[in-house]
């Protein structure tokens, strides 16, 4: 049996059910590795001693009928956890202890999993490199001073470094798929309305979705099956028949039609990404799928539309942080002064920038020119997808226009940072599911991902395609443990 922390979720579940390892041994192994990996800065809050107690309790009275029997895992610090500090990577929530649990994490604990702690992320999930967190940069286990991507950077880094067997992130414009791509892991952004948003710190409510991040596609399918439930506490949760994704997972994708959108061939895209994409096309052909050239003509307008819609919704969602009922408060001469100082000192630069953009595009006289315009463009983008899905079952693209970059490389140029999400953002605007799987490396050996976009509620299909491709690709993440002294 291989080392506990390098096993996949499915392997761990099997070994625990067959009593080859206990929950306590498993939990201890991940805690010990976590203790040795502080330099990665993946955790904002560790909950190790409580995790060990829960593991011991599980072993005393194990329930092997559960899907995650005594499995320890860490989650992004954007999910509210009852009684455990939840910061969203922000100073303004740095002392916030939720009196309730998010639906997605509750679903996970109901299946027997145990919380290891809360993982670092960009502040309020606004960022593509985990550099906007109040709690500092996260190091990628791939190489020193490399960003793990963002906003679910702590989740991706902890997963790739074997500090957690599986994890969850949130994806508003690529925040699961881009870090998965940067760290050689799998990340699924489900259909909007598939996973409940209840108890997730809100960024842009019409785009936010929680989703699984894992070491392989099988693990991803299993976690998606657990977290995706209809929830009356979220008014946009959708009541549809959900598959048993892990049971129904198949590598038979014969006859599936896969679209290749010409607009994703962007100027200045590195040759290694072009080559990776071409290789991906060959892989799906080998699996018996059919390739169809398609066009998504409004792709180029997705990112500018996103940078109106997302900040607009954020400026409204973040209006609640006023220093009165919870969170950080600064002293002011009067009430208004207190609000203004609290928000100026409590939010970081990127969050303030986006609140300002959002406030501006919603302000009197500009609403039609910006916000309404962006919503119309959003409609055109969704129409593009509706049109091609009459002809194809799924779409294959690169996940990102480049591999991971160095810490500090893009922090002074917001627009160049935003361009990182060029291939992921259209999916959020259209509310579709998409998965990123590791597919190769660049010249420096940094991982690169391919993205499979599906029809709404068709998670099973993209999981199947990913599963079939994964078998062909045989990707192995090279982690050297450079940060362990």
């Amino acid at each position: 049996m291989s080392d506990i922390t390098s096993q996949t979720l499915v392997e761990l579940v099997k070994n625990i059910k067959e009593k080859k390892i206990s929950s306590e041994e498993t939990t201890k192994a991940f805690i010990e590795r976590g203790e040795k990996s502080k330099d990665l800065n993946t955790y904002i809050t560790e909950d190790f001693s409580s995790a060990l107690q829960k593991a011991k309790k599980f072993d005393q009275k194990p329930n092997f009928d559960l899907k995650l029997p005594g499995i320890p895992m860490a989650v992004k610090d954007l999910f509210c956890t009852n009684g455990v500090k939840t910061t969203a990577g922000s100073k303004i929530l740095s002392n916030f202890i939720p009196p309730y649990e998010s639906t997605v994490t509750q679903n996970i604990w109901n299946e027997g999993a145990i919380l290891l702690g809360k993982l670092n992320c960009d502040e309020f999930a606004m960022g593509s490199s985990n550099e906007t967190s109040f709690f500092g940069n996260v190091q990628s286990p791939i190489d020193k001073d490399l960003v793990p991507g963002g906003s679910s950077g702590g989740s991706a880094s902890a997963l790739a470094a074997n500090l957690t067997p599986i994890t969850i992130g949130t994806d508003t414009g690529g925040s699961i798929r881009q870090p998965a791509s940067f760290t050689g892991t799998v990340g699924l952004k489900p259909t909007y309305g598939s996973c409940s948003r209840y108890g997730i710190v809100a960024f842009a409510s019409s785009l936010d979705q929680a989703g699984p991040m894992s070491k392989d596609v099988k693990d991803c399918a299993l976690l998606q099956e657990i977290i995706s439930t209809y929830d009356e506490k979220d008014s946009t949760s959708i009541d549809f028949k959900r598959n048993e994704y892990s049971k129904e997972l198949t590598n038979n994708i014969k006859g599936k039609k896969i679209g290749i959108p010409k607009e994703y061939r962007v100027d200045g895209m590195p040759k290694e990404i072009e080559d990776l994409w071409a290789k991906g096309i060959e892989y799906v052909k080998d699996c018996g799928a059919e390739i169809v050239e398609i066009s998504l003509p409004h792709t180029n307008y997705a990112l500018p539309a996103y940078y109106i819609v997302a900040p607009a919704e954020a400026s409204s969602n973040l209006a609640r942080y006023d220093g009165v009922k919870y969170g950080f408060r600064s002293k002011g001469e009067n009430l208004i002064d207190m609000y203004e100082k609290t928000r100026s000192e409590g939010f970081g630069a990127e969050v303030q920038r986006r609140i300002m953009i959002g406030t501006y595009v919603l302000s009197s006289g500009y609403y039609d020119a910006y916000y309404l315009k962006a919503q119309k463009v959003r409609k055109l983008i969704k129409n593009d997808f509706d049109e091609v899905y009459k002809k194809v079952d799924a779409i294959l693209t690169p996940s990102t226009p480049s591999a991971a970059f160095k810490i500090g490389e893009k922090t002074n140029d917001p627009v160049s940072m935003y361009l990182n999400d060029i291939f992921t953002v259209p999916v959020n605007l259209a509310g579709l599911p998409a998965i990123s799987i590791p597919a190769g490396v660049d010249t420096k050996g940094y991982p690169l991902g391919l993205q499979i976009i599906g029809k709404a509620f068709d998670e099973q299909n993209i999981l199947n395609i990913a599963y079939a491709m994964e078998e062909k690709i045989q990707f192995k993440n090279k982690i050297t443990d450079w940060w362990i002294k």
Binding site: N95, I97, P99, Y100, Y192, G193, S206, E232, S235, T236, I238, H298, Y301, P304, A305, Y307, I308, S315, A319, D322, V324, K325, Y326, G327, F328, R329, G332, E333, N334, L335, D337, M338, Y339, E340, R343, S344, F347, Q352, R353, I355, M356, I357, T359, Y360, S363, Y370, K373, A374, Q375, K376, V377, R378, K379, L380, K382, P414, V415, Y418, A430, A456
Partner: protein
């Protein structure tokens, strides 16, 4: 279009975020480069297009108006930066 310092000060007031002159200048620079990028949308004719407000095409369900989380007052008050008995405390607003 360019966003000047006066506009920045106006937005900062609407956002309830205090901004000094130095920060205002930095923000003006950032916002101008972001809006230059955003204004690519003006090239697109959207005259007869319906705006998309939500991708979830559902009608809201009714539910009974009942309290489900009970007895969490103390936990809620504990998160407050300043509280007095059963109240949240803010700086004086009435002279």
């Amino acid at each position: 279009m360019t966003i000047d310092l006066k506009t920045i000060k106006h937005i900062s007031k609407l956002s309830r975020i205090s901004v000094d002159d130095k920060k205002a200048e930095k923000l003006a620079g950032d916002l101008n480069s972001i809006f230059e990028f955003i204004e690519k949308l003006n090239k697109l004719d959207t005259k007869n297009i319906e705006p998309l407000t939500s991708v979830a095409e559902t009608t809201l369900k009714f539910r009974n108006d009942e309290v489900k989380s009970k007895d969490i007052r103390d936990q809620i008050l504990k998160n407050s930066p300043d509280e007095n008995e059963d109240f949240f405390v803010v700086p004086k607003v009435v002279e």
